[in-house]
């Protein structure tokens, strides 16, 4: 079996100084070599590992023949955002984990091939004939769940309007994921293609406040898909957390990604570029924050995580990239409090060392403090990437919409909420990755179609 073709990456010493894409993408030769590694299994396990059930051997078969425009057709049957999925899906835990080759050798690089197919066809229009049925469906939130559900409904003939509260589309794909992992140009192309298929996107509308769910039904929408995400950051609730220059990752990343603060003062929104930065957390958002801080000119970026690296939820590739770019990992360490200077700006964080104990309900070892191990780390800026909770605005302002104790909207097996005709998916019902949100958007689109056909 020929060796896996690794994704070509830009030199860490160069890429850590700019916001250009880190993964350069396969050349045609590299793509062909990798595509040929696919065994074209009769009963492909990889497709079963995909939350949106892409016919993986099907699209790779076309790539083997160097035919990306046929490959993209196969992809687009199941995903509306292949250029995004190819870049940000945790393939190693999904399709590639199930690839038969991974049992003895390395899995086929399905994500890299998907990205190639999408990038190679960027200028080709989706030639999909749609039979319009004239039925109006509203989608609330233009993140991965909303765009997926809206896109699928569009292809089924529905008249789809997507409402977005921010001034631009994409949700977390735009405000959260940095340019060097997902260029906004790439995202824009995918969204433009959906618009060309007929998706109407209305910006600056906060459903619940600008208008509410009832208004949407009154306007003639027959079903509503709620995908408002989990935009409510978690703070550690420890002393000093509101000192100046302590940001949550959502604020730090939204300033840079959505508001383009890396180009301040050409763009109006500022971002602080500390010299000695501590990032707290072990997920992909923590890696994105740390790597963004490096690019803004920090001298040292330390990533503090309370478990060991093996327990980090961040993708292996992201962790490797972060380390290559100079991020220092400080594991088994928990924050105790923040210390401020005379101007109420953070100057240090007090930490305590941890040891791993018994596995907790999530299956990961629960860390315990080591007595007498407190110590200080100097920091002139801190970014907290401790996770998010569901955004409460729409649920709290919609009478009869049930939520659970975590604040997630309660849905049945068909993604329908406690209110008939209102469906929900993505992070607002407990999803946690782009692809899981897309999977739910897909399932919900089918359920909405069934509901409206009754």
């Amino acid at each position: 079996m020929p060796q896996k073709v690794n994704m070509p990456e830009r030199d860490p010493q160069i890429r850590r100084r700019d916001f250009e894409q880190v993964n350069a993408g396969y050349s045609k030769e590299e793509m062909l070599a990798e595509a040929k590694r696919c065994l074209q299994c009769k009963n492909p396990m990889c497709a079963k590992g995909c939350p949106v059930e892409i016919n993986i051997p099907g699209f790779i078969k076309h790539l083997v023949k160097d035919n990306p425009s046929e490959a993209i057709k196969v992809l687009k049957q199941k995903t509306n955002l292949p250029a995004v999925c190819g870049r940000v899906c945790p393939q190693e835990n999904q399709c590639e984990k199930s690839c038969i080759l991974s049992k003895k050798d390395e899995a086929v690089s399905i994500g890299n091939l998907e990205r190639y197919a999408a990038d190679a066809t960027v200028n080709i229009e989706d030639n999909i004939s749609i039979k319009k049925n004239g039925v109006k469906v509203a989608v609330v939130g233009s993140g991965p769940a909303g765009l997926t559900c809206g896109g699928d409904l569009l292809k089924l003939g529905y008249n789809v309007t997507v409402y977005e509260s921010l001034h631009d589309t994409g949700g977390v794909l735009r405000y959260g994921i940095p340019e060097f992992r997902l260029p906004k140009k790439v995202l824009n192309v995918e969204i433009e293609k959906l618009k060309k298929l007929g998706m109407k996107i209305v910006l600056n509308i906060l459903i619940g406040r600008t208008k509410n769910i009832k208004d949407l039904f009154d306007e003639g929408f027959k079903a509503i898909f709620v995908a408002v995400g989990s935009g409510l950051p978690i703070f550690p609730r420890i002393p000093g957390e509101n000192l100046n220059h302590i940001y949550c990752s959502n604020e730090f990343l939204a300033r840079v990604n959505l508001m383009r603060a890396f180009d301040f003062p050409n763009y109006d929104t500022p971002v602080r570029s500390g010299k000695n930065i501590v990032v707290v957390g072990g997920g992909n958002t923590a890696m994105d924050s740390a790597r963004t801080a490096v690019r803004l000119g920090a001298n040292r970026v330390k990533l503090v995580y309370r478990r060991s690296e093996a327990e980090m939820p961040a993708r292996l590739e992201e962790r490797r990239h972060a380390k290559e770019e100079g991020v220092e990992f400080i594991t088994l360490t928990k924050l105790v409090r923040f210390i401020g200077d005379d101007n109420k700006a953070v100057k240090a964080v007090e930490c305590v060392k941890m040891q791993l104990g018994e596995p907790d309900e999530s299956g990961r070892s629960s860390p315990r403090e080591i007595a007498g191990s407190k110590y200080m780390i100097d920091a002139d800026m801190v970014v907290l990437a401790l996770g998010v909770r569901p955004n409460p605005i729409l649920p709290s302002l919609t009478k009869g919409l049930n939520i659970n104790s975590h604040g997630h909207i309660v849905i049945d097996e068909n993604h329908m909420t406690s209110i008939p005709g209102i469906f929900a998916g993505g992070d607002i019902v407990g999803g946690d990755t782009v692809i899981s949100a897309m999977g739910m958007g897909k399932k919900a689109a089918k359920a909405i179609d069934n509901y409206l056909k009754k």
Partner: protein, 281 residues
């Protein structure tokens, strides 16, 4: 795009805009705010709604030129468009019959006070309004405030209008003479803090509308967090109104200064070598 339908300078560098946004005009209530962004490169800036005209679909905002974005907004003319305008955001003020309400505004805070006292008056309250400003030129909306108040008092630092002193000096007098049931204070942090300290001594319920730095205004970024009663709250989704006596004022004041140095760079960058476009026309 959102059209500036009417524009008027109502005080020294204080501007009154009416912007066409029918859905916001229909649904905005006293105490809520909007976020505007002028153009592609603009920042998101929150402004409290100073009034609405649902019939014409207009939202009224009043602001003072302070930094880059407000100076740029002031340079736009009637008929110009701004790129983004979203709202209404935050919880509306809880309007009910309290009895006697004292509403205290500092400077341009009077604009935010206006829709509030209008509603409080409608609910049958006796409304005593106190407006404090540095000097006479910074007083706005006198006629409208008078119309909505049972009594209206002024205080200026230099004595050019009303009594010479602070709004709190007037408040003290009013509290001595009247049985006050609740106080509302809207304005700069030092003024709201001073009101809060004064009424705390007398255990007099006091509400304030806070104006921390915001980015999205929908709970996503956490920039606007304030400590209220020892707990971290988000002004955009939990507020913007809070019990004055529970607010950590010094923290709010220092957080407002978080980007001062960078804001100055942005402002200088914008104003150097630039003349007012409105005057050029």
């Amino acid at each position: 795009m959102y059209k500036i339908v009417r524009k008027k300078e109502i005080g020294n560098k204080i501007h009154n805009l009416e912007i066409y946004a029918p859905e916001i005009a229909k649904n905005a209530k006293a105490g809520q705010f909007v976020i505007f962004r002028i153009d592609e490169k603009g920042e998101r800036v929150p402004l409290t709604v100073a009034g609405t005209n649902p019939k014409e679909g207009l939202v009224r905002v009043i602001f003072q030129e302070a930094g880059k974005s407000t100076t740029q907004l002031a340079s736009l003319c009637e008929g110009d468009f701004i790129r983004d305008f979203v709202g209404p955001l935050g919880h509306p003020t809880v309007i009910k019959h309290y009895g006697t309400v004292v509403a205290v505004a500092g400077g341009v805070g009077a604009a935010e006070l206006l829709p509030l006292i209008k509603e409080l008056k409608k609910a049958g309250n006796k409304v005593i309004t106190i407006v404090g400003a540095r000097c006479k030129d910074l007083f706005i909306l006198e006629d409208e405030l008078k119309q909505e108040s049972d009594a209206l008092f002024f205080a200026t630092n230099d004595g050019t209008c009303g009594i010479k002193g602070f709004a709190t000096d007037v408040l003290k007098e009013v509290m001595d003479k009247e049985e006050v049931n609740i106080v509302y204070a809207i304005g700069p942090v030092p003024m709201m803090k001073a009101v809060s300290e004064l009424t705390k001594e007398k255990h007099l319920e006091t509400m304030v509308s806070l104006n921390p730095i915001m980015l999205d205004g929908t709970g996503m970024c956490g920039a606007c967090r304030v400590t209220v009663d020892g707990k971290t709250k988000f002004a955009c989704v939990d507020g913007p109104e809070f019990d004055a006596h529970s607010v950590h004022w010094d923290e709010l004041a220092s957080r407002l200064n978080s980007f001062k140095d960078l804001e100055k760079i942005s402002f200088d960058n914008f104003t150097v070598g630039r003349e007012c476009e409105c005057r050029k026309k």
